[in-house]
């Protein structure tokens, strides 16, 4: 009794913070169909802006708070609306990836502006406490609770008693009808984005009372609001808010048993366990407006009239093989002309390309979005770190063990995919990645804590790969083999099976494809190959810490692949090249101030690139191929098929009829 109630009250305080986040998330999802993965990043960014205005420029709180809540935050919301507006009506994956890109953008943006270190923060509510019954309550905690409830009440009032509320409901119920009766969807959506963004800002400055003001930490804390938002099925405000309070109380009461170590780690992951289970249980009942639209977006491609479309598959394959073999040969002789440090960088690129291949197959071909791929890399890396032996002599069995562990894990991530796709699958994989972060990678026994563990260069059948060049050759060799196998698979039955899964699971199932088996096997196999990449990656790095496999890196991998081209193997190679650019620059110009930030700049550029791609979710590689085809077809003389091959079904006729 005496310890229970205080925990409940404290739980309500933390819960109200998540509640604020959940309300903001549901608001934009309901009105615009965009689940804002960047919500936490907006909160973090606003907290830093506030820190800048208030703590650095010393403006008074009476000016800085209104400035933040009424000008800065709404402005960010306004910009978000501008970015997302052209994306409405596209496949669910597009806004997901764009909002993940915004998350990365704001995160590295904040790091570039304010640096990664922790900032002291002058609190806006006094932190002193008062006695409430038998225990102490901080004024800031109470203040947070009150502010959260006031914000909730404000939202309720807004939706119930204002014109905005009426318009919102009209737009949510039926967009077309709303337009007919003169309600502008654009205005409603813009306003929703601005309000949601203000909620994020409020959340940001409230959080700085209890959290360290670092870019990474703040984002991570706000992510917890995803769980209650989904509990409210992304549509009910009371359920989302109530779910957040419940979650707060639940985790707080759990605290009673927590000491440290494993228990504490599991406790931190509780919201993610709940979210994962929730998604599986709710399954098909979660409605996603975007899904009535064609999944994934090859169909948005323009009609291509170039000859290549009609070229039979064989020469195309031959050319791709020739190009691939040529590129591989060039990569293989590179170490003879490139100095050591750069060879090491090339290894890094090859291994990222290897990780990217698994994501191309999983997300690009099979259409199963995943924000957890780097977690599998971690499994392989730590397995090798622990079991490969001091000279890497047991590398092969250790790597195989890691790959074997990846099988059940892959099946577990695969389970949500049986009933979910698009946004909810993305959320489930995110939850999985965070569970892995907290429970597995944060566990000292596995990862050695923050200092990490040593990993060893492999020795395979007596051959040592300790030198930089030999490690590069090994990585490149494995990449080459994996690329060759996947390329061969793509042309055959397995490739087709994966692609029909993406294009129309519905039709595939009626034709006799067992979706359950196909999806689970795909997740497991991609997980296993990622673990294999991890085994090499770990021994390449030689020292690994949990930070090497955080969920944020899965986000980065996804962004790289999407930017480069998620459904072609060339995209995976380009992703690897992009990944190694920061290290390459550093190795060329040396560390220093520029070098330290190169990684951030590249991430920033990729994030901007992904946002810019928007309507072309097939990525830059596909885009450039299309462009090249168009240029070629313009330069060529008229195609031969015009000469006397007219038939009712000739392609020339089709384009005419498709226009009508």
């Amino acid at each position: 009794m005496s310890t229970f109630w205080p925990l409940v009250v404290i739980g309500l305080f933390t819960g109200s913070i998540y509640g604020l986040g959940a309300l903001g998330l549901v608001l934009t999802y309901k009105t615009t169909g965009v689940f804002n993965f960047a919500f936490g990043a907006v909160a973090m960014f606003c907290a830093f802006v506030y820190w800048q205005i208030h703590d650095t420029w010393h403006w008074t709180a009476w000016i800085s708070i209104p400035l933040l809540l009424l000008v800065v935050a709404p402005l960010i919301g306004y910009l978000f609306e501008l970015l997302f507006r052209p994306l409405s009506g596209l496949a669910a994956e597009v806004p997901i990836v764009v909002s993940l890109a915004l998350l990365a953008l704001l995160e590295v943006g904040a790091q570039l502006i304010w640096g990664g270190q922790e900032r002291g923060f002058e609190t806006i509510i006094p932190t002193s406490s008062f006695k409430f019954g038998s225990f102490y309550v901080g004024w800031d905690q109470l203040g947070t609770l009150i502010i959260a409830f006031m914000a909730g009440g404000f939202l309720w009032w807004l939706l119930r008693h204002t014109r905005f509320g009426m318009s919102t409901r009209a737009v949510v119920d039926n967009r077309d009808l709303a337009a007919i009766i003169g309600v502008s969807g654009d205005n409603v959506r813009r306003f929703a984005w601005m309000v949601s963004s203000t909620f994020a800002a409020l959340l940001g400055i409230l959080l700085t009372h209890s959290q360290e003001l670092t870019t990474y930490n703040l984002v991570l804390v706000v992510l917890v609001s995803f769980a209650p938002a989904v509990m409210g099925r992304n549509e009910s405000f009371p359920w989302a808010f109530g779910g957040a309070l419940g979650l707060g109380v639940f985790t707080s009461v759990l605290h009673r048993w927590s000491t440290s170590g494993t228990v504490a780690n599991i406790e931190a992951a509780v919201p993610w366990f709940l979210l994962f289970i929730f998604l599986i249980v709710l399954g098909g009942r979660l409605k996603e407006p975007g899904l009535s639209v064609r999944p994934m977006a090859v169909a948005t491609g323009t009609l291509s009239t170039g000859d290549m479309e009609h070229m039979s598959a064989r020469p195309r394959i031959q050319r791709a093989v020739a190009l691939g073999v040529g590129a591989f040969a060039v990569a293989a002789v590179l170490p003879t002309v490139v100095p050591g440090p750069q060879v090491s960088v090339l290894t890094y690129g090859a291994l990222w390309a290897l990780m990217a291949v698994t994501l191309v197959v999983l997300t690009g071909w099979a259409g199963q979005i995943s924000i957890a791929q780097v977690s599998f890399v971690g499994v392989g890396a730590f397995a090798v770190g622990h079991w490969a032996g001091a000279h890497g002599q047991n590398f092969v069995p250790a790597a195989l063990a890691g790959m074997a562990i990846a099988v059940p894990l892959g099946l577990i991530v695969g389970i949500p995919s049986l009933r979910l796709r698009g946004l909810y699958l993305a959320l489930a994989t995110l939850a999985f990645a965070l569970i892995m972060d907290y429970v597995v990678f944060n566990s000292v026994g596995i990862s050695g804590g923050l200092t990490g563990i040593l990993d060893h260069r492999p020795r395979i059948f007596g051959v040592s790969f300790a030198s930089t060049t030999s490690m590069y050759e090994l990585s490149l060799g494995v990449l080459g083999v994996v690329l060759a196998i996947t390329f061969a698979l793509r042309q055959g039955p397995i490739g087709r099976r994966l692609r029909i899964l993406r294009d129309s699971p519905l039709a595939a199932s009626t034709l006799g494809v067992n979706l359950t088996v196909t999806k689970l096997v795909t997740f497991a196999v991609c997980g296993v190959v990622a673990a294999m990449a991890g085994a090499l990656y770990g021994s390449y790095l030689q020292s690994i810490t949990p930070i090497n496999f955080q969920f944020g890196l899965s986000v980065q991998l996804l962004l790289l692949v999407v930017f480069a081209g998620r459904s072609v193997l060339t995209g995976a190679v380009v992703a690897g090249v992009l990944a190694m650019i920061p290290a390459l620059i550093v190795s060329l110009i040396g560390g220093g101030t520029i070098g330290a930030n190169v990684g951030n700049w590249i991430t920033l550029a990729v994030a901007v690139g992904v946002i810019g791609l928007g309507r072309n979710p097939e990525g830059t590689v596909s885009l450039s191929i299309q462009e090249a085809k168009r240029t070629l077809s313009v330069m060529r003389p008229r195609p031969r098929r015009y000469l006397g091959l007219g038939s009712p079904l000739a392609p020339e006729r089709l384009e005419v009829s498709s226009g009508g």
């Binding site: 087709r496 692609r499 294009d503 519905l506 034709l511």
Partner: protein, 261 residues
């Protein structure tokens, strides 16, 4: 004639509810080999819903579905697909990112999982080539399916369904989006399919059974041997095209509606 005896696919007492709406109310249906069975009814009558029940995409609250003597009511869609049921969709469900040829090939592979590797390959190529020839798709074999106009898309969907070597073929408004010429071409193909010599798919020897949902009355009356009429989720009539045309209940529910329009 005793339709029940030769019924390849039959549904009995199927009921489906969406909340309070009785989308289907104890509906019976038989689909016989070598026949085109029509399923007609005004918009919202429950035709697509019945298709979804037959295909296993929707679980009925009551009733049973039998395929060639086996009770398949609880079978998942893919099992029905392998047992010889194939369908097209009212809203096209093409494999949009793949070529026309790949669409058909993938279908054949899905329906013949054992024959994917090695031995099955020549059969597969031959079957796909036959289908493309039959439907006049050779000229667009290399085109991406997602880029095709609806009319051709419907042809590709038909070809894809046929490549699974089905014994029952369910077609949901296949002629919508086709022009007059294409519709004629399509009607010819349908008749040819049911009349054709036994194909090499499931239980060879029995000709194909087709269930056709269609709004184009001329086409329905022309190709169907038997017609079932649904209205508000109930079966209001069943008989030959002549009987249906003369049926007063059908006139009131369905044809009457078009007269007014």
């Amino acid at each position: 004639m005793a339709a029940e005896d030769s019924a390849v696919l039959s549904a009995r007492g199927i009921s489906v509810r969406f909340g309070g709406l009785h989308a289907l109310d104890e509906v019976d249906l038989e689909v016989a080999a070598g026949r085109v069975t029509g399923l007609i009814g005004p918009n919202g009558a429950g035709k697509t819903t019945l298709f979804n029940v037959l295909g296993g995409l929707l679980e009925p609250v009551a009733g049973s579905v039998h395929l060639g003597g086996a009770d398949i009511t609880t079978w998942p869609p893919h099992r029905r697909g392998r047992a010889g049921m194939a369908r097209t969709f009212q809203r096209l469900e093409l494999f949009t990112g793949m070529t026309v040829e790949e669409n058909l090939t993938a279908s054949w592979e899905a329906a013949h999982p054992g024959a994917i590797f090695g031995r099955g390959r020549p059969t597969r190529k031959q079957r796909v080539a036959e289908m493309m020839e039959l439907l006049g798709l050779e000229r667009i074999a290399g085109r991406t399916a997602g880029e095709l106009p609806t009319g051709l898309g419907r042809m590709v969907e038909l070809g894809r369904a046929l490549c699974a070597d089905p014994r029952v073929l369910l077609l949901d408004e296949p002629s919508s989006g086709l022009d007059v010429g294409e519709t004629q071409h399509f009607a010819r193909i349908l008749r040819q399919l049911v009349a054709e010599a036994p194909h090499n798919g499931h239980d060879a020897g029995q000709p194909l059974a087709i269930l056709l949902v269609e709004h184009d009355m001329a086409l329905v009356m022309e190709v169907c041997h038997v017609i079932t009429v649904l209205d508000f989720g109930r079966r209001i009539a069943c008989g030959s095209p002549d009987q249906i045309q003369g049926d007063p209940a059908v006139r009131a529910a369905y044809l009457g509606e078009t007269d007014v329009a």
